[in-house]
């Protein structure tokens, strides 16, 4: 019995990695992770940059969505004595103390993907800058594209729906606000609808919504899985391009297919690859040469539509989009 224990123990020791490395160590602490295709592109950007700069990086998050895990992972990263951290900021108060603690130890922190809503004010978190899209401008871009397409087809938008899949996410709130800021002054009612990242369930919810609101003819989805839910609904109901005007945030092969066939007007891309890549790059530059930026980097909105979708599809196959 004792020999078996000893053997197992030695095996585990052998499997654990070598200690004492001189390379820089960075950590990403985010509210979402590899369970969602969107984040995999950010992770690829992060890993490519890590190879390019010869640094170690680690992605720390719940597989799908969690804010309460963030302060714990931040504390773990600090305990690991990392040289830099990339964070998302869906809820600044939840992570404030952990961020401040990291900062006290001189660890540079870059915000990616979801900006600190207090940035620039007295309550801003002590971070370097933001690498990501302007969510508000993204929401506006989709609203404008929907209005322009309706005009081109000679119809009017009667009412719009905005399904939200991750409740409690300030980035999605900003997209919603941007979307409404264009449509509501044009006299169009925008309904919020709570869905989830479960495609089948959300398609059912959309069906229920459209049953109750048959006049609605515009929808903006907030990610690849909700877009899938909309496509499932639209296919089962036999909708044709132009019946409902659809624009979406973020990208996926299915979304591109629907842009080509005219079901989707545009996808607002935030170029997630850049968010992972640039965060590592700037953490490296900050550590190596003390360099930083004096303002944020906007990686979006970038509009993907019928004019550029083919090129994007090529790059998507390689994991860059």
């Amino acid at each position: 019995m004792q020999r078996r224990f000893l053997l197992g123990f030695l095996l585990l020791l052998f499997l654990s990695p070598a200690t004492a490395q001189e390379r820089y160590k960075f950590a990403f602490v985010t509210h979402g992770g590899p369970g969602n295709p969107f984040w995999n592109v950010v992770i690829k950007g992060m890993e490519d940059a890590a190879k390019r700069y010869d640094v170690d990086v680690q992605w720390l998050s719940n597989t799908t969505f969690s804010i309460e895990d963030m302060p714990n992972f931040l504390d773990d990263a600090v305990a690991n004595k990392v040289n830099g951290i990339g964070i998302t900021c869906p809820d600044p108060e939840a992570i404030r103390e952990s961020v401040e603690q990291a900062r006290e130890r001189g660890i540079p922190i870059i915000v990616l993907n979801t900006a600190d809503p207090n940035a620039g004010g007295p309550d801003a978190l002590p971070t370097e800058f933001y690498v990501g899209a302007s969510e508000f401008l993204g929401g506006q871009s989709n609203a404008k594209a929907i209005l322009a397409e309706a005009q081109k087809r000679g119809t009017k938008i009667q009412r719009a729906v905005y399904p939200i899949q991750e409740l409690g996410h300030s980035g999605l709130e900003a997209r919603f606000a941007g979307f409404k800021s264009i449509l509501e002054p044009a006299g169009i009612t925008v309904d919020g609808l709570t869905i989830s990242n479960n495609v089948e369930q959300s398609a059912g919810l959309l069906k229920d919504y459209f049953l109750g609101h048959p006049q609605t003819n515009a929808i903006a989805t907030l990610g690849p899985l909700p877009a899938d839910a909309y496509y499932l609904f639209s296919e089962e109901e036999g909708k044709q391009p132009g019946d409902i005007f659809h624009a979406t945030h973020d990208t996926s092969p299915v979304i591109f297919e629907h842009i080509k066939t005219g079901y989707t007007i545009q996808a607002v891309d935030q170029q997630p690859y850049l968010q992972g890549y640039l965060t590592v790059s700037f953490l490296y530059l900050n550590n190596a040469y003390g360099l930083t930026l004096s303002q944020d980097i906007l990686t979006g909105p970038f509009s993907i539509n019928a004019s550029n979708v083919d090129r994007i599809v090529e790059l998507m196959a390689k994991g860059y989009r």
Partner: protein
């Protein structure tokens, strides 16, 4: 009997021995693999801080599982009661009354679980699977439109309590006397376990320290008001020790001690074991097993609410998904701690060790730089190893 045999027998009799062995092995592995980072205050405080909340929830789950029941709705109860608390607090209600709202919500939701169980006779696994979704809907409908309720949006000042010093002194003194009284009785219990005695000794020492501190601070001006930041009291950084240790760890330890004493030293504790071991036999002994079950569900709901409020004190916000997935994490920790899924056997100290073990796995994985995509897989694999070690130790009996 040889000394080693005696120790082995003693270990095999206590359900937490396996968890302790698993914990020590994993601890040693991480300590040897990353000596510069693992054995530091930041790493150890990170483990304990993150596990205090699930640790408190695990107390209620352990009592339920020993009595042969499950509660899958604790994550949703935690979410709903956190919301009740913070919603009341940001709407100008006194922070203590707001906290009572949160606790009441937890108790009521737990009571509903228990009543549904005994009225319908449906297994608790199914009942609480249903209420898990129903209770989640409370948070989802109350916080509509993708919002987070943040304390900072309503007030820039932390919630302050003003209490006459003498009240605090009386409270800590009472705690010390109660613990001393329990310690006097515990020596008469024939099957007292070593871990219970150690825990009680620590509790006595700590409460003696608290009493001394209170006497020194309060006696010169007994009627002066003491101001306490409510959030710091529940989950602020502890200034008395170096590192980032938080008050939630003390609440976790304190509540575990209280419930260990209830489970091992009271008639109610006996009734819990009897109900889960053999309900029929328990009924014949005159135990009202339905009352035991309902009480346990209320306790479980109450503790989920306590954990939720303590978590709000750190995060200072509530989102509609708060607590999602916590039930499985906690049940896993309780099982690692040696409590049987079939009921009748288990230990609260084991659950505390199991909870700490799951937290240690997470922090340890970060420290040994496990690649992103393998992270959760590695946690799962090591968790299985911990349970195997746990079972090996217990088979030694």
């Amino acid at each position: 009997m040889k000394t080693t045999d005696a120790i082995r027998n003693r270990l095999a009799r206590s359900p937490e021995a396996g968890a302790a062995a698993g914990f020590s092995s994993i601890f040693l592995i991480f300590a040897l693999a990353t000596p510069n980072t693992f054995l530091t205050n930041s790493a150890i405080s990170s483990i304990l801080n993150s596990q205090a909340v699930p640790g408190i929830v695990a107390i209620g789950i352990t009592l339920l599982m020993i009595s042969g029941e499950f509660d899958l709705s604790v994550g949703s109860i935690l979410g709903a009661s956190s919301l009740a608390f913070l919603y009341a607090a940001v709407n100008g209600i006194h922070i203590l009354i707001a906290a009572s709202f949160g606790l009441l919500a937890g108790c009521l939701l737990g009571l509903f679980n228990g009543l549904l169980l005994i009225w319908t006779g449906i297994p608790s696994f199914i009942v609480t699977l249903g209420t898990m979704l129903v209770y989640r809907a409370i948070s989802l409908t109350a916080i509509s439109g993708g919002r987070i309720i943040r304390y900072a949006d309503y007030s820039r000042e932390p919630p302050i309590l003003e209490i006459p010093g003498i009240t605090i002194l009386v409270a800590v003194l009472a705690l010390f006397v109660i613990l001393l009284w329990t310690a006097k009785d515990i020596r008469k219990t024939p099957d007292r376990s070593l871990s219970t005695q150690i825990l009680l000794a620590f509790a006595l020492l700590f409460s003696a320290y608290l009493t001394l501190e209170a006497i020194i601070a309060i006696i010169p001006q007994p009627f002066a008001f003491v101001t306490i930041d409510f959030f710091s009291m529940l989950n602020g950084r502890l200034d008395i020790v170096p590192g980032n240790y938080r008050a939630s760890i003390l609440w976790w330890t304190g509540l575990t001690t209280v419930f260990v004493l209830i489970l091992t030293q009271t008639r109610f504790g006996n009734a819990i074991f009897a109900t889960g071991g053999n309900a029929q036999a328990a009924r014949l002994q005159g135990i009202n097993i339905n009352r035991v079950r309902v009480t346990n569900f209320v306790i479980s709901g109450f503790l989920a609410a306590v954990a939720g409020i303590i978590q709000v004190a750190r995060l200072k916000s509530v989102d509609p998904l708060r607590g999602t997935g916590m039930e499985l994490e906690v049940i896993a920790a309780v099982v690692i701690g040696g409590t049987l899924l079939t009921g009748g056997y288990g230990s609260l100290i084991g659950s505390a060790i199991g909870t700490a073990l799951t937290g240690m796995l997470r922090t340890g994985m970060v420290l040994i730089q496990v690649p992103t995509n393998a992270f959760r897989g590695a946690i799962g694999a090591i968790m299985i190893v911990a349970v195997i070690i746990n079972n090996l130790v217990r088979k030694e009996r």
